[in-house]
Symmetry: C2
Subunit: 119 residues, 2 copies
DNA sequence: TTTATTCATTGCAATATTACGATAAATAAA
DNA sequence: TTTATTTATCGTAATATTGCAATGAATAAA
């Protein structure tokens, strides 16, 4: 075992899980934030921003790229990374589906059938 | 190695990463969706909804609980799970921070300094 | 061409995740 | 009390993630 049973879930569930997982590391959050707030998205700048070695950053960039959240363009001997806005908006859309199609029923859940202990 | 360097990132980055990571599996997305759309959040119902064995579901529930996204209340010999709305709104807030404080500069990134190849 | 710069890849060790059978713990039902 | 129901935990196997030194590949600069 050890492999996620992807085929047992919907595409939407898998897609949101994949994108969430890609953001499931503080370094990758930091990378996304850096790319969101700056035009200068040369790989070296990202490496300098993070408290991690260059190969480690490269690996995180690869994961974000695999998830589709970022893309890279060759510029001379450097590589310019940026947010992939198509997937970024898709991610927002998947989250909005979750946030807007349901209404939290705070006081109806977990308490309706409680029998007080000790009575 | 193998352990995330949590102390090198901000609380906000770590919190968003932790919550994102908790949602980084389709089964946990499915659990959250089920809890969002129903009042009946007895653990057994969740197990029946998922294509996974009971111990595996229990483990996913534990991860969501550890991240703070859900909470459980004992009801007789069953346990009623529900969304922890405090953390749920915190998650939404952390995401909104990301979505609203930055503006995608689609056409300014990755193309401004490109020297056409072959010229 | 030679050297420097930039980034990816490889290889490895440590740790974490995913999944489930078996079993334990706790309450409910008979 | 005995049995059933419900959920958590343990143990284990397979796989994935995290991190980095060393190295490779590619372009830039000298």
């Amino acid at each position: 075992m050890g492999a996620t049973k992807t085929d047992q879930f919907t595409n939407r569930q898998n897609e949101l899980a994949t994108l969430s997982k890609a953001l499931g590391h503080p370094a990758r959050i930091a990378i996304i934030e850096f790319l969101l707030k700056t035009d200068a998205c040369i790989c070296g700048d990202i490496v300098n921003q993070l408290p991690l070695a260059q190969p480690t950053v490269s690996q995180h960039l690869k994961e974000l790229k695999t998830a589709g959240l970022i893309k890279g363009t060759i510029e001379g001997n450097a590589i310019c990374y940026c947010i992939n806005d198509t997937i970024w908006y898709k991610y927002r859309g998947l989250l909005n589906f979750l946030f807007e199609n349901y209404e939290l029923k705070n006081n109806k859940c977990c308490y309706k059938n409680i029998k007080p202990k000790g009575l």
